[in-house]
C-alpha cells in the first residue's frame, strides 16, 4: 500500500476510534453515577459540530500564534500516528512528540489572554513535572528490550512474552500517565472545571475542532503505545478489545475519584514515578 | 618528542585528589546554600560552587581541559552578572524605593585613584590587545573597567553605552566570519585566525568594560 494512503487510513481510524472511546468513557462514567449519559457517538458529533460553527477569535489573543498552535497540535498527533502504527519507528521519537504536545497544550491556554487559559497554562507546566518522569518508563523498556524501535520491541515480545509480566511497575507508570491524560481524571488539573474548560476555554469553531480531533487521536495513540509495548503483538481486534477495556477501567477510576489539588496531583504522580522507576530497576537487578 | 602520546603519570596521579577536593568543596558550598535564608548570600555562595566546577574540569590536565575551562568561567561570570541584576530589580520593585540617584558623595581621596588609572589601564589594554582572544579580552576589559571606575569623567551618556554594545555585536559577527572562514575556505586560515582572535578580544573587552560603566555609576558619582 502506498505510504500516504496508509497514513490517511491510520489517522482516520485513530480519530474515529479515539472519539468513540471518549464517548464510551462518558457513557460508562454516567452509568456509574446513575445518570443516563449521552450516546456513545456524542463526542464525535461534538467534534464535528465545531467545524460548522462560526469561528471567532478573541481580540486579546496573540495572533498568528493562537491559530497556529491549535493546528500544530493536530499536526503533532498526526506525526505520532506516522511514527507509531504506520512505520513503527523509534519510541524516543514518540517521547519527543509527547513533549511537543505538552508545550502546545499549555500554550493554547496562555495565548488567548483569558485568565482561565492562563491558569490552565501554569498548571500544564506544573503537570509536565509529573508527566515527564512518568514517560521515563520508555527508558525502562529500553533497558529491558535493548531497543527503542517499536517493531523490534514487538519482535522481542513475540519471543519473550509480554513486557507487562516482566516490568509490571513500568506498565503501572504508563497507566498512570494515560489516566492523567483522560478527561475528568483525578490528575486532569489542566482541564478542571474550576477553570471552566482549561486551555480550551477561548477556542471556538474550527480551532476547538482541531483541539478535539487531536485529543481523540492522542487518546488512541497513548492506548496504542501501551498495548503495543506492554501486551505485545496484537491483531486489530486485539487492539480494539484492549482499548475498550482500558477506557472502561479508566472510566471507573475517574468516576469515583475527586479532582486533586494541583500540588497534590503532581506529587502523587511523582510518587508513582519514583516507585515505578526505582522498583523496576530493583526488579531488573534482582531478576 | 615535545608532546607525549599519553597523559603524563604525574597528571594522572593528581586527578583523584583534585576531584575529591572539588567534591568536598562542592558539597560544603551546596550545604551552605541550602541553609541560607537570604538570597544575596546564596548568590555569593554559588560563586564557590563554580570554583568546584573549575577544579573538576582542570583536573583532566590536558590542553583540551584548559580550553574547556574558559567556557565554564564565562558562563559563571555571565550568570552572576545577569542574576545579580535581577535580584536588584526585584528588590527595587519590592521596596518600591527610588534609590536616590545622587546620594551621599563619597569622600575618598585615594592616591591610587588619581595617578594610577591611566597607567594601569593603559598597560592592561595594551597587554590585552597583544594577547587577543578570551584572555586578552578579559585583561583589556578589566583595564577599561578600572579606568571607568576610577576616572572622574562621569556622565558617560546613554548613547555611548549603546555604542559600546554595538561594537561588541559587530565583534561577534567578525568572530563568526572568522570561524566560518576556517571551515569554508581553509586556504586563508590565517585571516580567519586573526579575525577570530581580534573579534573575540573586542567582544569580551567591550562587554567587560560595560560593567565599569555600571560600576562607576555606583562608586564615583560626585
Amino acid at each position: 500500500m502506498n505510504l500516504m494512503a496508509n497514513i490517511l487510513l491510520n489517522v482516520l481510524i485513530a480519530f474515529l476510534i479515539g472519539s468513540l472511546l471518549f464517548g464510551l468513557q462518558r457513557k460508562v462514567m454516567a452509568r456509574i453515577q446513575t445518570r443516563p449519559g449521552p450516546p456513545i457517538i456524542q463526542h464525535l458529533l461534538h467534534t464535528l459540530k465545531f467545524f460548522i460553527k462560526e469561528s471567532s477569535f478573541p481580540y486579546t489573543a496573540a495572533m498568528p500564534f493562537y491559530i497556529a498552535i491549535a493546528s500544530m497540535l493536530c499536526a503533532i498527533w498526526v506525526s505520532a500516528v506516522i511514527v507509531g502504527p504506520v512505520i513503527e519507528g523509534s519510541l524516543l521519537l514518540f517521547f519527543g512528540i509527547y513533549a511537543l504536545q505538552k508545550i502546545v497544550e499549555h500554550n493554547a491556554g496562555s495565548s488567548s489572554g483569558s485568565p482561565y487559559g492562563k491558569l490552565s497554562c501554569v498548571r500544564a507546566v506544573f503537570s509536565a513535572a509529573a508527566e515527564v518522569p512518568l514517560f521515563a518508563v520508555l527508558v525502562i523498556i529500553y533497558l529491558q528490550t535493548q531497543t527503542m524501535v517499536i517493531s523490534d520491541i514487538i519482535n522481542y515480545q513475540a519471543v519473550n512474552g509480554p513486557l507487562i509480566f516482566t516490568i509490571p511497575l513500568a506498565a503501572l507508570m504508563f497507566f498512570v500517565l494515560i489516566l492523567s491524560k483522560s478527561p475528568y481524571s483525578p490528575f486532569a488539573i489542566t482541564k478542571g472545571k474550576d477553570i471552566v474548560s482549561g486551555y480550551e476555554t477561548e477556542h471556538f469553531g474550527v480551532l476547538r475542532g482541531y483541539l478535539m480531533i487531536s485529543e481523540s487521536i492522542a487518546w488512541y495513540m497513548l492506548l496504542w503505545v501501551f498495548l503495543t509495548v506492554f501486551i505485545g503483538p496484537l491483531g486489530i481486534l486485539g487492539y480494539l478489545v484492549g482499548m475498550v477495556a482500558i477506557s472502561v477501567l479508566i472510566a471507573f477510576i475517574n468516576s469515583i475519584t475527586p479532582l486533586l489539588n494541583p500540588n497534590h496531583s503532581i506529587m502523587v504522580q511523582i510518587t508513582f514515578a519514583f516507585i515505578g522507576i526505582v522498583g523496576s530497576l530493583v526488579l531488573m537487578l534482582v531478576m | 618528542m615535545i608532546v607525549p602520546e599519553v597523559v603524563p603519570a604525574i597528571t594522572v596521579s593528581l586527578f583523584l585528589p583534585a576531584l575529591y577536593v572539588a567534591l568536598i568543596v562542592g558539597f560544603i558550598a551546596l550545604l551552605g546554600i541550602s541553609f541560607q535564608k537570604k538570597d544575596v548570600h546564596a548568590l555569593i555562595l554559588t560563586d564557590i560552587v563554580g570554583v568546584a566546577m573549575l577544579i573538576i574540569v582542570a583536573a583532566v590536565g590536558t590542553d583540551l581541559a584548559e580550553a574547556l575551562i574558559l567556557p565554564g568561567l564565562v558562563v559563571e561570570l555571565a550568570e552572576i552578572m545577569a542574576i545579580s541584576e535581577i535580584l536588584m530589580s526585584r528588590e527595587m520593585r519590592k521596596t518600591g524605593k527610588k534609590v536616590s540617584f545622587m546620594p551621599m558623595p563619597i569622600k575618598m581621596d585615594m592616591e591610587i585613584l588619581k595617578t594610577a588609572p591611566n597607567f594601569l589601564s593603559l598597560v592592561l589594554i595594551v597587554y590585552g590587545i597583544f594577547l587577543t582572544g578570551f584572555t586578552g579580552g578579559a585583561v583589556a576589559g578589566v583595564g577599561i573597567l578600572f579606568y571607568a571606575l576610577a576616572r572622574k569623567s562621569r556622565g558617560l551618556p546613554f548613547q555611548l553605552w549603546e555604542g559600546v554594545s554595538g561594537i561588541s555585536g559587530v565583534a561577534w559577527c567578525i568572530w563568526l566570519a572568522g570561524f566560518l572562514i576556517l571551515f569554508v575556505a581553509p586556504e586563508i586560515w590565517l585571516l580567519g585566525l586573526l579575525m577570530s582572535s581580534f573579534g573575540i578580544l573586542l567582544k569580551v573587552a567591550s562587554k567587560m568594560g560595560l560593567i565599569g560603566v555600571l560600576g562607576r555609576e555606583e562608586f564615583k558619582r560626585n
Binding site: N6, I13, G37, P39 | -
Partner: protein
C-alpha cells in the same frame, strides 16, 4: 487491506449511531423511559448482533459486508437517545451470543 475493512466497520458504526440518534428523537418524545421495549428496535438489534457475531453462517455474503451491515444495525439501536435501546441491545447480544456459543461448541 485489513485496515480498510476496519475503517469501513467503524464508519458504518458511526453512521448507524448518527442515524439511530436522529430516528430515536423523531420516534420517542418522552425523556428516559426505563421499562419499555420497542419491538422494532429489538428486531433490528437482534439482527444486527446476529450479523456481527455469526457472519460465518451467512456464506452467501462476504464476511466484511455482513459485519459492516450488522454493525450499522447494532449502532442504530445502541446509538439511540439516552434511556432507549438498552434492553434491546442486551437481548440482541444475549441471543446472538447463545447462537454463536452453540455453533462453536457443538
Amino acid at each position: 487491506m485489513d485496515e480498510i475493512t476496519y475503517l469501513i466497520y467503524i464508519i458504518s458504526f458511526v453512521l448507524g449511531s448518527v442515524l439511530g440518534l436522529l430516528l430515536s428523537y423523531k420516534k420517542y418524545n418522552q425523556p428516559f423511559v426505563t421499562k419499555k421495549i420497542d419491538p422494532v428496535a429489538l428486531i433490528i438489534s437482534i439482527a444486527g448482533w446476529f450479523l456481527v457475531l455469526n457472519s460465518a453462517l451467512l456464506f452467501f455474503l462476504p464476511s466484511f459486508v455482513s459485519i459492516s451491515l450488522g454493525l450499522f444495525l447494532v449502532a442504530l439501536v445502541l446509538g439511540m437517545r439516552p434511556g432507549y435501546g438498552r434492553y434491546e441491545t442486551v437481548f440482541g447480544i444475549l441471543i446472538s451470543a447463545v447462537v454463536w456459543l452453540a455453533l462453536t461448541i457443538i
